[in-house]
Symmetry: C2
Subunit: 331 residues, 2 copies
């Protein structure tokens, strides 16, 4: 274990390696330690050894339960009993409802009127209380603030929260505990909670590992932010990767500026191809957002573009891929 790899991180984040270890101890009894799967045929396509961390097989169907349960189980008794509130149309909503249920406290979930029915049913099944709002970013935040004021509930932001990021970091920590000598880890980026956590979790385990974010061309705000050095936003996006439409927060932007080794953009066609390949070859259900983290490896010269040191090792590159979730509408 490499408790000191993150020693310089206090410049940009208060999240220490100890906070990630504590988060892991806190949530381990609640979550699955998800399997790491491999596929000979995908290795051949990528020209590398790929290790897939299967958060699609995680409770609630995505990594979001890691951050949500860390945040909710970090609350004091006094805070927790007033309940929690969040706004999300996706996996974070289900995760907050689930974790609040485990803690035995109410969860108010603000969802846009046009959220997919399957997502609403999941939140309800976990005992979340849904408040519908207009499908605009501003309406979501306003509604959440109103509920906070009325109930005293604690806001559990999907990514602009150190407890959330420390929780998400545990996925990469588990991956590097299980797979040695990884050269790189790829994860999708949206608001940056998973990617920030992956940077801290992976580099905390192994200082030399590269961490790359993967993003749809049609929702490329993280790429633009890191290119320009100025936080960019994504107003709207119609990417098939419905989990990746949010924009970085100043908190996640700061972590990524320091720790991430690059952002790789992928087309809609590449996302679809990667998703189909995983279903067919690996026999697991992933959502489009997960496929975004595999897609760059499947293109001609994909692995070379990661900028890994070559030659010295005399072996195939060893690359971790975080498959973030598996929640898709099915017939």
């Amino acid at each position: 274990m490499a408790a000191s790899n993150l020693s310089a991180q206090n410049e940009v984040t208060a999240i220490t390696w100890e906070a990630i270890v504590e988060a892991h101890e806190r949530i381990q009894p609640l979550i699955h330690r998800t399997p790491v799967l491999t596929s000979t045929s995908l290795n051949e396509l990528a020209g590398a050894l790929l290790f897939f961390k299967c958060e699609n097989l995680q409770k609630t169907g995505s990594f979001k339960i890691r951050g949500a349960s860390n945040a909710i189980f970090s609350l004091s008794e006094g805070e927790a009993k007033r309940g929690v509130v969040t706004h999300s149309s996706g996996n974070h909503a289900a995760a907050v409802a689930r974790a609040a249920g485990w803690r035995g406290v109410p969860a108010w979930i603000v969802m846009p009127k046009n959220a997919p029915a399957v997502k609403c049913r999941a939140v309800e099944a976990y005992g979340g209380k849904i408040t519908y709002c207009e499908p605009k970013v501003s309406a979501r935040a306003e509604t959440a603030v109103r509920i906070q004021a009325e109930t005293g509930a604690v806001l559990i932001h999907p990514y602009d929260d150190d407890r959330i990021i420390a929780g998400q970091a545990t996925a990469a920590k588990e991956l590097l505990e299980e797979v040695t000598e990884l050269d790189a880890v790829l994860a999708p980026v949206s608001g940056g909670g998973l990617l920030s956590g992956t940077c801290l979790g992976a580099k905390g385990m192994r200082a030399t590992v590269r961490v790359l974010g993967c993003e749809p061309e049609r929702a490329d705000d993280a790429y633009r932010s890191l290119q320009t050095g100025v936080l960019q936003t994504q107003e709207t996006s119609d990417t098939i990767a419905d989990g990746l439409r949010a924009s970085l927060a100043p908190r996640t932007f700061a972590i990524l500026r320091k720790y991430v080794d690059g952002i790789l953009l992928v087309s809609e066609e590449e996302i679809r191809t990667a998703m189909r390949l995983v279903w067919q070859r690996m026999k697991i259900v992933i959502e489009p957002s997960s496929a975004v983290a595999l897609a760059p490896l499947l293109r001609e010269g994909g692995v070379a573009a990661l900028g890994l040191p070559t030659g010295a090792h005399g072996r195939s590159p060893r690359i971790g891929v975080i498959l973030s979730g598996g929640n898709v509408e099915m017939g």
Copy 2:
């Protein structure tokens, strides 16, 4: 380890516990040790703790690679160099082609003209040489015999073979190595290779575990055979569980008569429901044949019908389910 649980087995089979351990040592470097997954929501539906042995995530997409690689790597150099031959329209064909490729020997695969294109492509991708025949059981066997005569290749039967059964037994062995105190294990039954192996592998690990076969109502020859005590055949079947249309051989019938604790029949509708639930809740792709082994647990009183001892334990029943494969045609 319980090497003596199977001491009485010589009455019906020459497969010893030592043969299963040897098979496992032989194939372990070649195959995946597949994960055992759990699902809170499926536990709730079944009223039991379910442990899914995910052979859908196995190399070639099914458990068949266990038996095929054990058989092919058991051959002497002299036998192996002449190659192997089999007839199958499904997962066994792909497994034999794959294992023969690993050993570096030719594999002739007899497939019916109407075999699904996806299955033919898999066999070809693994380097198998396909000979098409008329879609009749007799034509398959005749064609295989002709190829045997011409080439001297060794016939690798899908289930009427002790090396195959010993290989299939390693799935249950791994399951019981990982999950303690299982009360029962459910597996689908077709020709009986997997179910025979599951009996020997599971009961070799834990003498008191019950092993139940699961079979479509529309292909109920194993059920009828065990009810009547006379080997019954299945002439044709249109069950959606396309992997379960074969009939027992005398070899597998003898093992099942002694060791299996019952056969559970399921309807086509139950198969479809179980398959959909696994895709949706567990985020893994299974083929209909796999769903057959879960389906009986989802019906009202399903677990009670297993005839497990109750009361004494004061705990939920612990039930293993072998998910046999994940090869389905995708759009």
